[in-house]
């Protein structure tokens, strides 16, 4: 008989091993799913995980795309992980992402067609401020009126989406667009665009920012008093208060930082790969980043790897769809399995599995 026995402390080995195990289990269950759909499961798994990286026909294009897809996920997830560690739940990164993009793009579009070096840096600042502003709404409401930041930040996503639609149709609409919605394409406005830094690498400023965020967050959490306070608050809010942590300041810091990073991610995306303010500019990065943060164990290095893995399933999923004719829903189910198995096998890090009869209770 199987029996679970709680570990006194979470197993270090299993904490590191469960993500790998979850990926393996996803491959097996996903393979079965693909087999039921009448596809070769090995070909499908290889198309998703191997071809984007090593297939000679696609890899030179899809490897850089992996960075493009993972960059915003990592940047947002790093910000979220700080709050999540302290028990501050920003679920509305998607909204901060949109507002950051709108503020940044707004600066660029307002200055069109001026040609100057300072436009892009200004846009970056505006993008960060936009994300900060949107995150400060749930933060201040929480510190002053004890509202629930989960609900406020989530509902503000829908407000941001309406603002985005309004901007794409009205204020920021391309005056030369023939009445169609959507702004001018920032990719075609060199002073405001976020181009590939080195041709063929996919590397743009947003990915640079993501790497910097990973390092900064690692240093913060491991070497800085604030990082200690964040971790302490998450583990024991009462103990943290005795240790002199100001909970309100921490709320403002965590929500503010995640807002800034989400806003930056939005700005880099809209000035780079997306190019224009359009009604459905946001593609759920802010929500997917929540999965990435947990898949990466709220650990900066873990998030880096989790973001890359998530990006890989997107790009490989695309390939599998049209190379093998897999339906989009099967790919989404496959991605969902990943989180499901991760949460499922998490039990191993907190519990020991005992086989045999229960000893005298």
């Amino acid at each position: 008989m199987l029996r679970l026995e709680k570990r006194p402390t979470p197993s270090r080995f299993w904490t590191a091993a469960t993500p790998v195990l979850a990926v393996l289990l996803t491959m097996i269950a996903g393979g079965l799913l693909f087999m039921i759909l009448g596809k070769d499961p090995f070909a499908a798994i290889r198309t998703i995980f191997w071809d984007p990286l090593f297939n000679e026909q696609f890899a030179s294009y899809s490897r850089p795309q992996l960075l493009v897809k993972s960059g915003p996920l990592i940047l947002i997830a790093i910000g979220l992980s700080l709050g999540f560690r302290a028990g501050i739940w920003n679920i509305g990164a998607e909204g901060q992402y949109i507002i950051g993009a709108l503020c940044g793009a707004g600066v660029g579009l307002a200055l069109y067609p001026m040609d100057a070096w300072f436009i892009f840096p200004l846009m970056v600042i505006a993008g960060a401020l936009g994300g900060l502003l949107w995150a400060m709404i749930p933060a201040l409401l929480k510190t002053h009126f004890r509202t629930n930041e989960i609900l406020v930040s989530l509902l503000l996503v829908y407000v941001a989406e309406q603002l985005l639609a309004s901007m794409a149709l009205g204020l920021m609409r391309n005056p030369e667009g023939g009445g169609f919605p959507g702004s001018r394409n920032l990719q075609q406005y060199p002073s405001a665009s976020n181009p590939e830094l080195i041709a063929g690498t996919g590397m743009h400023w947003g990915i640079v920012a993501a790497f910097i965020a990973v390092i900064a967050s690692y240093v913060l959490l491991n070497r800085h008093l604030l990082g200690f306070q964040i971790r302490l608050t998450g583990q024991s809010p009462r103990a943290a208060r005795f240790a002199g942590v100001n909970p309100n300041a921490l709320i403002l810091f965590c929500l503010g930082t995640s807002g800034v990073l989400a806003g930056l991610a939005g700005l880099f995306e809209i000035a780079g790969p997306a190019g224009q303010v359009s009604i459905d500019f946001n593609q759920g990065y802010g929500f997917t980043a929540i999965i990435v943060a947990f898949l990466g164990r709220l650990n900066p290095i873990g998030i880096l790897l989790a973001g890359l893995l998530m990006g890989l399933t997107y790009i490989g999923g695309d390939l599998a769809q049209f190379m093998l004719g897999l339906p989009a829903a099967a790919i989404q189910a496959f991605q969902g399995m990943l989180l499901f198995f991760l949460l499922g096998v998490d039990v191993l890090s907190n519990f020991r599995i005992r086989i045999g009869k229960t000893e005298a209770a």
Partner: protein
């Protein structure tokens, strides 16, 4: 290994393509990028029917590939690039939002032909195509004007772009013509496909007294909402939606892309493909009117079919003056018809429609 041979074949195809003999590969590869799932029962469903018609028509000479539910924007650019890399010779991008991504990718793959639906930007290897759905809307408006008892017609609009505004205007003009008391209520859903939102919009319109629902969104959710409410009629959008006939669905606009897709694929095979702008309507068969059901009285049906025939043979244009804009300014004089340029960029309501186009 299956995959090995597939890859070998497409690598060979790519090699040939880069050698400048794009059509010498034994199979022509045609790609389709869809904005919704192929089972949406509307827009994407009909594009996929067109794809299947290509497969059936050409048999082994053509291979088709497709990807569904592709977001408009950066993701579309990646999907298109990967399709082009996989050796596609011709790629149809079937939603307005794919416009800039299509142009960007087309610039990188000059040997691959692209066809963008409903857009207005073209290049040497990018064509555009669309259908004159507003012709079908005229027929719908005529039936709606006759059938409404509450004189309130509900309209579920998607995005405030010229194509959608044209449809509202055309339906309104023809409803008004047969029923001067008719009033239109428009709800903007800001989606092409979202059954939950579409059902909400339909219910809201029914609660406001609408007994006819027109939709410019792709799912059958409004049909289901109308069926539940009873005594409300609807029209199939993009696809026949015949499973809701005879009530609530009394007719439909059917997009028929198959002849166009077959013709363009043939052009690629022949090497005669050139960049064109196609805008066909009922006459050319790109827009079909689904069977008018038994719920519609015979005289109304006859009037609607006569209008359809007049549009098809070119003797009548749905936008014929005298027509004024919503603000009361003159648009078309007596007998004057709208030019395609104005129609393509239409961003105003005609006189009599209440409410504003979202800005």
């Amino acid at each position: 290994m299956k995959r090995r041979t597939l890859l070998a074949a497409s690598v060979a195809a790519l090699g040939l393509a880069s050698a400048g003999a794009a059509f010498a590969a034994d199979k022509t590869k045609v790609g389709f990028v869809f904005v919704g799932p192929i089972g949406d029962g509307g827009w994407t469903y009909e594009h996929n029917e067109g794809r299947l018609a290509v497969e059936e028509h050409f048999g082994d000479a053509v291979e088709t590939i497709y990807q569904e539910s592709v977001p408009e924007g950066a993701d579309a650019e990646r999907v298109l690039t990967q399709m082009a890399l996989s050796g596609a010779d011709l790629i149809f991008t079937t939603s307005f939002g794919y416009m800039d991504p299509t142009l960007n990718v087309a610039a990188k793959f000059p040997d691959v032909k692209f066809e963008h639906a409903t857009g207005y930007k073209r290049a040497d290897n990018v064509s555009t195509y669309s259908a004159r759905f507003y012709e079908g809307r005229a027929v719908q408006g005529t039936i709606a004007g006759h059938m409404t008892k509450s004189n309130v017609v509900g309209y579920i609009a998607s995005f405030p772009i010229p194509e959608v505004i044209r449809g509202i205007n055309s339906a309104y003009i023809h409803a008004k013509k047969v029923n001067p008391d008719v009033e239109f209520k428009v709800i903007w859903a800001y989606t092409w496909f979202d059954p939950a939102k579409e059902a909400d919009a339909a219910n809201a319109l029914i609660e406001q007294g609408a007994d006819v629902i027109l939709q410019h969104t792709d799912s059958t959710a409004p049909q289901a909402a109308a069926e539940k409410a009873g005594n409300v009629i609807t029209f199939g959008q993009a696809s026949d939606m015949g499973e809701y006939a005879p009530m609530p669905r009394v007719s439909s606009i059917i997009d028929n892309w198959a002849p166009y897709y077959i013709a363009r694929t043939q052009a690629v095979i022949d090497g005669s493909w050139t960049s064109v702008d196609t805008w066909d309507g009922i006459g050319a068969g790109m827009v079909g009117i689904g069977e008018i059901s038994s719920a519609v009285p015979e005289d109304v049906k006859a009037e609607a079919l006569a209008l359809k025939d007049a549009i098809a043979n070119g003797s009548y244009h749905p936008f014929t003056g005298p027509l004024k804009k919503q603000d009361g300014s003159d648009w078309l004089a007596e007998g004057e018809t709208a030019d395609d340029g104005t129609l393509a960029g239409m961003n105003f309501y005609v006189e009599g429609i209440t409410g504003d186009i979202p800005q």
